[in-house]
Symmetry: C2
Subunit: 250 residues, 2 copies
């Protein structure tokens, strides 16, 4: 049995509360929420507080708040092992007096959608081996895939995540705009989107690269630019350039 306290009531906090509540070997002792009154939380049997001085101790106290609030809130937490869940915040940004660590879930959490934790990459960091063991135990109860990353590695991976998640999603947005403008349903692209995301399981993305930029097919590139709005043209050109320059700088 491992005991846990959660600080926060945002997206990540809620998904963790939901997941922990369903696992027998995790004892979710308390949740801190600045504002009480979250309906789902109030309905559950988990003790809630909005007063940090009433916090109980646990094997692991997880701060799941926005990046810029981590340092400030951690000052006031005297629990034995305090970890945050942020990709881009260093472990040492934690200002609690006792042990520190990181429990970063590398996944996109939406309000609307339940998260399947099994196989989620969980990036761990701790100050000593025994704390790391505790975090590993919690991560394996969630059936996550455990990675040990330093704060520096984690920060870089967080930028990589922006490319594969936020920026890829923007590629979908541009495509959605084009479909809408020409009265074609966007879901016509779904099989291609899925194939693109699956292909890189067996090939490196560099090996998977195809298309006019890669082929240096100037004629098709010119035709494509003529079909695009000005802002999409600029984006198309920059990415085409980046594909063509890939490998040159490395």
């Amino acid at each position: 049995m491992i005991s846990v306290v959660i600080i926060g009531s945002g997206n990540v906090a809620k998904h963790l509360i939901h997941a922990f509540s369903k696992i027998d070997n995790i004892n979710l002792k308390q949740v801190y929420a600045r504002k009480l009154g979250d309906e789902a939380l109030m309905k559950s049997n988990i003790p809630i507080t909005n007063d940090l001085s009433l916090l109980v101790d646990a094997d692991i106290t997880i701060i799941a708040v926005s990046d810029d609030a981590v340092a400030a809130i951690s000052c006031n937490i005297k629990n034995s092992l305090v970890v945050h869940t942020s990709g881009s915040v260093e472990m040492n940004a934690l200002k609690n007096p006792k042990n520190k660590g990181v429990f970063y879930l590398l996944q996109s959490f939406s309000k609307e959608k339940e998260v399947n934790f099994s196989n989620i990459p969980i990036c761990l960091e701790a100050e000593n081996e025994s704390d790391l063991k505790k975090l590993e135990k919690l991560a394996s109860l969630l059936q996550g895939n455990i990675y040990h990353l330093t704060s520096q590695q984690r920060k870089k991976i967080h930028v990589a995540a922006v490319f594969v998640n936020n920026f890829t999603n923007h590629m979908y947005t541009v495509a959605h705009d084009i479909c809408e403008e020409h009265n074609v349903p966007f879901n016509i692209l779904q099989p291609l989107i899925e194939e693109t995301s699956q292909k890189i399981k067996n090939l490196t993305p560099s090996e998977s690269q195809t298309g006019p930029a890669k082929r240096k097919d100037a004629e098709t590139i010119k035709n494509h630019l003529n079909l695009l709005s000005k802002s999409h043209q600029e984006l198309y050109l920059k990415i085409t350039q980046s594909i063509q320059n890939h490998g040159k700088e490395l």
Copy 2:
């Protein structure tokens, strides 16, 4: 029963030959390949020719060659209904004397990977209703999802496909570079990549957009830029800008 002749021996041609050969109600009468000697093709029982004057007629003759070869090769084909498989070539680029059409498969075809045709979007165009019916019959034997697109719509969708396939793949490439540089296995990002591609089944990409660009989180954007190489910085900035300007031009 529907009879088919295929012109070409590239990626798309090979996948079509493979798929057609397995379907009872399709009679693949002949394949034209400029160079004989493709081993898999020679081993099959399908009659092959490298002489267009020896071409037999069929219900549908499919030209699956590179975009810029479609017009030239079509001049020499006297068959009754000739279609090409290209996303960005107009139907009227076909110069065969008889009926013309388009049979465009909106998917990425790799040499290495077998394609599951069921649910592949197949974009059809024809000069008359009875030709369209023939193409629909062939598409449904392949278990594809049928769409009727004009040449103009198809060209635009082809550009949209570049965004969701080639450009998205480049986002993966940049992320792969970052992972490699910091000794983190790239597959740490696979669950996030899949979640990103799945999320847009239920939300529009614009609704799914998250991240520092969307939040206008200047501090995180600055930190991310500091972690990137010069060429990746430029790309990061341009896409961030495009996310922030999205909707303004429309």
